[in-house]
């Protein structure tokens, strides 16, 4: 009989950066598949374009900074940033929109701050916020999901033409519409009740029609990430907890003016943000208690921005705001070392 005679720590596998990043990419596949099903080829074109631009920008910045190219390009971190951003963009976003967003993410938010591991803000969300602030019109042109009204039959060629050459004769304006959160926000402003608004064709069983399936896909991928411990469970738990507490409180106060908690959780970018964006190990808090507080802060901020702010959704802004707070959270929630006196 043979016994292994290795000394501790008995870690079976090495968690390299590349492996973690690859897992994030795998986990995004179900959600992306649902997005492609409901929104068409544009999603895939955006993903491909963002990946190419991100790898190019990463290579240029690495060579300017004199870093080894193969090592850092091979860790997939630029691809993850590109995918996170591309998924958040409208499916028929013009090519320059995707390009500016990715460049802002990789060049400004990542490399100007010192590269992977040194960036205080989530690069993909910086890219998204730059676009949201600079190009509000292009960023709000979301396609109506497949299945509502007429089936939108944009072929691959049509999508390519719209993205790279402008709309031309194609009826793009007829195909785009307000997102469910947009509808909720505008109609609440007009004084309608939540029940009336929820009868509009944009909404499905829980949240937006079509959108709810993409959310389900991202939830499945996200749960797998937590199961494989690629993402810390405290962050999504804290985020969803914070959002549930806020939305339930307001829902109980006045159910006609505030959307129910399940709608808030299932619509917009909440699930995607909770599992894929907020869990970025570089920009999030690193202590167990800190992660809970960090997540809860994002959840509460999302509700505040949605309910009382100027934008229909607030995941990106909330994540960036809590990114600033993460180092302070780490400082105050440092776990006690065994034997250390409690303060």
């Amino acid at each position: 009989m043979r016994f292994k005679t290795v000394t501790s720590p008995h870690i079976l596998q090495q968690n390299s950066v590349g492996q973690v990043m690859r897992r994030v990419l795998y986990a995004m596949v179900p959600g992306i598949a649902a997005l492609v099903w409901f929104f068409g080829w544009g999603v895939l074109i955006n993903l491909a374009l963002a990946t190419v631009v991100a790898l190019g920008a990463e290579a240029v910045m690495l060579s300017i900074r004199g870093k080894p190219l193969a090592l850092h390009l091979g860790d997939y971190s630029a691809v993850v940033t590109a995918w996170l951003l591309a998924v958040a963009l409208p499916p028929l976003a013009p090519w320059w929109l995707t390009m500016i967003g990715v460049l802002a993410a990789i060049v400004v938010a990542k490399h100007l701050y010192g590269g992977l591991g040194y960036n205080p803000f989530n690069p993909a969300m910086i890219g998204y916020v730059v676009l949201l602030i600079s190009f509000p019109r292009e960023m709000s042109a979301w396609l109506i999901p497949h299945g509502i009204g007429q089936p939108h039959a944009l072929s691959l060629l049509d999508s390519l033409q719209i993205i790279f050459g402008g709309a031309g004769s194609l009826p793009v304006d007829a195909l785009t519409g307000a997102t469910p959160l947009d509808v909720l926000r505008t109609r609440l402003g007009l004084g309608q009740t939540v029940t009336d608004i929820r009868n509009s064709p944009v909404f499905g069983v829980v949240a937006g029609q079509g959108w709810e399936w993409a959310t389900a896909g991202f939830l499945a991928g996200g749960l797998w990430l937590v199961y494989t411990r690629t993402a810390a469970w405290q962050i999504p738990a804290g985020l969803l907890g914070g959002l549930v507490v806020m939305s339930t409180t307001f829902y109980l106060i006045d159910p006609q003016h505030y959307a129910p908690p399940w709608f808030h959780i299932w619509s917009g970018a909440v699930i995607f943000g909770a599992f894929f964006i907020a869990t970025d190990p570089v920009t999030a808090s690193t202590t167990p208690r800190g992660r809970l507080i960090y997540g809860a802060g994002i959840g509460i901020l999302i509700y505040i921005i949605r309910g009382f702010g100027g934008y229909p959704d607030g995941v990106a802004f909330s994540v960036l705001l809590m990114n600033i707070a993460a180092p302070t959270l780490d400082l105050y929630t440092r776990p006690r070392v065994f034997g250390e006196k409690q303060l």
Binding site: I100, V108, V130, I133, S134, F135, P136
Partner: protein, 229 residues
């Protein structure tokens, strides 16, 4: 104390001790009004004028002021100069005055004005102080105009828009539309654009300085080698 030559004073003000890029004084007006070339140029000129007036005045009254009370005296002199500039702009350039708004009276809080008064004008004669005021002002103006140009081109695709506010009628024809049919990049006009732009300018200046240093070091090394051989 070794007196600096005029050349050194100029070099210090415009480059080595540049208010905007090295000392990072007066960031509030620098970031807030540099959203177009004309705004930057106007505020730069106003600040230069204030700096010149304050440096000359403080250098003149230097023998009369006891060091213990110098700071309150500086404050009063600066406040007078800024008020004079503000009233003059209100009288002669009302359009520009409305555009720049609060930032004209806020020149009074620009740390570089009291900084130059304390560090230079209170210790030097009138001619030197005047040159220092102009040099510091020019350095500030340079950064304002450069940052304004970058943000205006990126943000609106134009240069010298609204030039009529500063130059009168013929300023209308100065506006350059560099990129036709430009959609506008709002971020460059908004405050984040100012921060990112200033950061890039500082980085460029540091790179240039490092290059020059390396060049000088290399040249002195070769000079030593040739002298040795």
């Amino acid at each position: 104390m070794i007196e600096m030559s005029y050349r050194q004073i100029l070099q210090n003000g415009v480059w080595t001790q540049n208010t905007g890029l090295v000392a990072l004084l007066g960031l509030c007006p620098l970031l807030a009004t540099s959203n177009s070339v004309v705004n930057g140029l106007s505020l730069g000129l106003a600040t230069t004028l204030v700096l010149l007036m304050c440096n000359v005045a403080i250098s003149l009254i230097r023998p009369l002021v006891r060091p213990e009370v110098r700071i309150p005296v500086f404050v009063v002199v600066i406040a007078c100069a800024v008020t004079a500039v503000e009233l003059a702009m209100h009288a002669f350039l009302p359009g520009l005055y409305t555009v720049l708004g609060i930032f004209i009276p806020l020149i009074v809080t620009n740390c570089c004005v009291i900084g130059r008064a304390e560090a230079f004008a209170f210790k030097n004669n009138v001619a030197r102080s005047a040159v220092d005021g102009i040099a510091t002002g020019l350095g500030f103006l340079m950064v304002l105009v450069l940052l304004g140009a970058i943000r205006e081109v990126l943000g609106q695709g134009t240069l010298f828009s609204q030039a009529e506010l500063l130059f009168g009628e013929w300023g209308n024809s100065m506006t350059l539309h560099l990129i036709p049919d430009y959609r506008g990049f709002l971020l460059a006009i908004l405050p984040p654009g100012a921060f990112i732009g200033l950061g890039c300018l500082i980085a460029i200046k540091n790179v240039m300085d490092a290059r020059v240093q390396r060049h000088i070091a290399a040249r002195s090394a070769t000079a030593l080698m040739t002298a040795g051989s």
